[in-house]
């Protein structure tokens, strides 16, 4: 029982970071119908950038998030303008998969050139510290990472619900044609939406680098998990993605602790197959667009 609860705690903390990672992915899909296969690579890129800032300039990864996210937001906007905007609308959904995959390979290639291919990890002074609460370990880094994810997701939520920009995003998600008729600049929303998606990936990457050793090829494993999460949550549904992420994080950790660590990544696939059989639109997806 002790191990079970310990696993749940670990899984919940990991799930919070998954939620942050998946939020951008599902947002980009909602706004543009683009599945950004490069999301995993962006996370790894974020991890490397914060690693560099930490080792070279001694900037704590939680601080570097504040510096990196605006920067990577701009990079995201640029990537959208250069690589996704030019795709013809009727082929965009199809081609964007391949284009973003190519982007993922490109980022992996770039990182291999710059950093070589061995594992790195961002080791801060509090990396090994943990609190003991009622006999359970609470790793400080993981708790901070979870906290940061909650803060960013809350900001994202406020941005989407309380601002004019957020309304245009939600309108676009629900129906781009009507949104355009109502005067929403869909192109602009798409570019900004992609920028936000990349920014969340960067933030998630900074904490990912503290809890997990990573190398340029780490993105394959990440993206397959994240894609399972957003399918489970319902493509385009932010709330769905968050709940799915927390659930998957815990399911994986419990599976690893109670059954076998070797097979724990299968929890993702088992859940994915079950969803496809029972509810192909995902837990919170609808058959129509727009459940953000």
């Amino acid at each position: 029982m002790h191990l079970f609860i310990q696993a749940c705690i670990l899984g919940l903390l990991a799930g919070g970071v998954y939620a942050l990672m998946a939020s951008g992915l599902t947002l980009a899909f909602g706004v543009m119908r683009v599945i950004n296969v490069a999301q995993g690579a962006m996370i790894v890129l974020g991890a490397f950038l914060s690693y560099t800032l930490f080792t070279k300039a001694h900037i704590d990864p939680f601080v570097s998030v504040v510096l990196l996210t605006p920067l990577m937001f701009l990079v995201g906007v640029a990537l959208q303008l250069v690589f996704i905007r030019p795709l013809r609308a009727d082929e965009r959904e199809e081609l964007s998969l391949l284009v973003t995959w190519a982007l993922a390979l490109g980022i992996e290639g770039l990182l291999s050139v710059l950093y070589k291919t061995n594992y790195r990890s961002t080791i801060t002074s509090y990396a090994d510290k943990s609190w003991r609460v009622l006999g359970y370990h609470l790793s400080e880094v993981r708790v901070f990472a979870f906290g940061m994810s909650v803060v960013i997701l809350t900001l994202l939520y406020l941005l989407l619900t309380r601002t004019e920009f957020g309304r245009t995003v939600r309108a676009t998600v629900q129906n781009p044609v009507s949104a355009r008729l109502l005067g929403v600049n869909v192109d602009k929303v798409s570019a900004l939406g992609f920028g936000i998606s990349v920014a969340t990936a960067t933030a998630a990457g900074a904490v990912f680098g503290m809890v997990t050793p990573f190398f340029p090829g780490s993105h394959y494993d990440l993206i397959s998990r994240l894609l399972s999460i957003i399918v489970l949550g319902g493509l385009g549904s932010l709330g769905g993605a968050i709940i799915a992420a927390l659930f998957m994080g815990m399911a994986e950790a419990v599976f690893a602790a109670e059954i076998s660590p070797t097979w724990s990544s299968f929890t993702f696939f088992i859940v994915l197959i079950a969803i496809l059989l029972l509810r192909p639109q995902g837990l919170f997806g609808t058959n129509e667009r727009g459940a953000l």
């Binding site: 191990l3 696993a7 990890s121 943990s130 370990h137 690893a256 070797t262 990544s265």
Partner: protein
């Protein structure tokens, strides 16, 4: 560098008449298509050409003393890009250092050594293509083994087909020896999976009262990690040491806290972990966090890195941890002091910065040199038959092989003693005595 200027020209040239053809067609779309194709080809050419500099420079052009006859061409495919590129570069250093040293001393049999090193991008298809090309197109005199291990098998069978000796530094897994290829020689003291044997022998040498009673075996799912622990587990069980915990965790497992918690609960006297690198650090850190210090800790890999291990787990937490190694910087094995000195002169750093892969690659060259010295010949037939008889000396120690190319010796047991990594067992290679039980964490 010639390639850099040469290669793109013909490919770009192709696109020129095509662009000109656009005038008659008056078709803008077609122009776009052709330009992009041209760009595409140019990019692939530039891409390939960029690599040109690295491969052309890799041909060892050292100014040897007077050499006669045609050069001895040796072909090697290494993973200079892709997932295995870091050890690939380490192997390249070892090979080049050997070639330089040999040429400075007049070459082999008066023939200057010329290395042709090509890149396989860590891909098995490319490694097959590369050895095919080296042997049947460029007709090199000899081939040396690639890095990584996983690419050694496919490469060895190509070499076998053409009767080339395949002296290789990295492919020590069972799959390679299963093929029963008579041309393969793995240049390390022992097959990779036997790396725990010296530790088993050491435990056996202890009086029964000092031996551990219980053991845990947490291992990484990797060809060269979990099988090591499996082999040790069998030996320890035969000695009556009870297995209280065993698990295999996947390579993506970053945080081993849950695994460590599980075995901490069983309080084993000994932890034998088939580890690679990050997972070894993670296990140590989790044990420190849990305040659990078993009497014996053996980590197959990770703990044998003289500089990285203390930096990752804290120098004071290393004391008494065992690991294994095939080569050690201060070893006195055949030509090792000279190798270390030459390495320092060429690449700088301290002896402890030398990757053992460089030593392994260097040893491959040493063996060829030794065969040439003994027989006066450097053809593949002679190399194969010579290496199959007797024991041969190199920086990796004295090695002999069975018919499948599996080395018959033993690796060494390393231990952190007094803040330093030292070979401690077997006694003939030990620089100091092993100590046990392990002190508590933090010294």
């Amino acid at each position: 560098m010639q390639a850099l200027e040469g290669a793109p020209a013909p490919l770009l040239g192709k696109s020129v008449p095509a662009t000109r053809g656009q005038k008659e067609g008056q078709n803008v779309r077609r122009l776009g298509v052709l330009i992009s194709l041209g760009v595409l080809l140019a990019v692939s050419a530039t891409l390939a050409a960029c690599g040109g500099s690295s491969s052309s420079s890799s041909t060892s052009g050292s100014s040897g003393s007077a050499t006669s006859g045609k050069p001895l061409n040796i072909g090697i495919s290494l993973s200079l890009s892709g997932d295995f590129s870091d050890p690939g570069h380490a192997a390249q250093k070892g090979y080049q250092l050997w070639a330089k040293t040999v040429n400075a001393n007049g070459g082999i049999d008066g023939r200057k050594v010329k290395l042709k090193i090509v890149d396989d991008a860590s891909s098995p298809n490319q490694v097959v293509t590369n050895y095919q090309n080296l042997i049947t197109r460029d007709k090199v005199d000899l081939v040396f083994g690639p890095f990584s291990t996983l690419l050694t098998g496919p490469a060895a069978s190509v070499a076998h087909r053409y009767g080339y000796a395949f002296v290789e530094p990295a492919g020590g897994g069972p799959a390679v020896f299963q093929e029963h290829l008579n041309n393969v020689f793995f240049v390390q003291p022992a097959p990779t999976l036997n790396c725990g044997d010296p530790f088993v022998a050491y435990i056996k040498s202890l009086p029964p009262s000092q031996r551990p009673k219980t053991a845990a075996y947490p291992s990484l799912d990797d060809p060269f990690s979990s099988p090591i622990a499996d082999r040790m587990q069998k030996a320890f069980e035969a000695m009556g040491i009870k297995t209280v915990y065993k698990t295999i965790y996947p390579s993506e497992t970053a945080d081993l806290t849950p695994v460590v918690e599980k075995y901490v609960a069983k309080k084993p006297d000994m932890v034998v972990a088939g580890t690679q690198s990050e997972d070894a650090y993670s296990q140590v850190k989790a044990m420190v966090q849990a305040g659990f210090s078993p009497k014996f800790v053996f980590l197959a890999n990770g703990a044998n890195s003289p500089t990285e291990f203390p930096s990752k787990v804290g120098a004071k937490n290393t004391e008494g941890i065992f690991s294994c190694g095939d080569w050690f910087p201060t070893s006195k094995a055949g030509g090792n002091p000279q190798f270390v000195a030459a390495y320092k002169a060429q690449y700088g750093g301290t002896p402890f910065d030398i990757d053992s892969t460089s030593a392994e690659a260097y040893a491959v060259g040493q063996l060829i040199q030794a065969v040439a010295k003994k027989t006066g010949k450097v053809d593949n037939k002679t190399i194969i038959s010579s290496l199959h008889s007797g024991t041969w000396s190199s920086v990796e120690g004295n090695i002999s092989w069975n018919a499948d190319g599996s080395p018959q010796g033993s690796d060494m047991l390393l231990e952190w003693v007094g803040g330093k990594l030292q070979p401690v067992y077997p006694p003939n290679v030990a620089l100091t005595k092993p100590t046990s039980p392990k002190p508590p964490w933090g010294g």
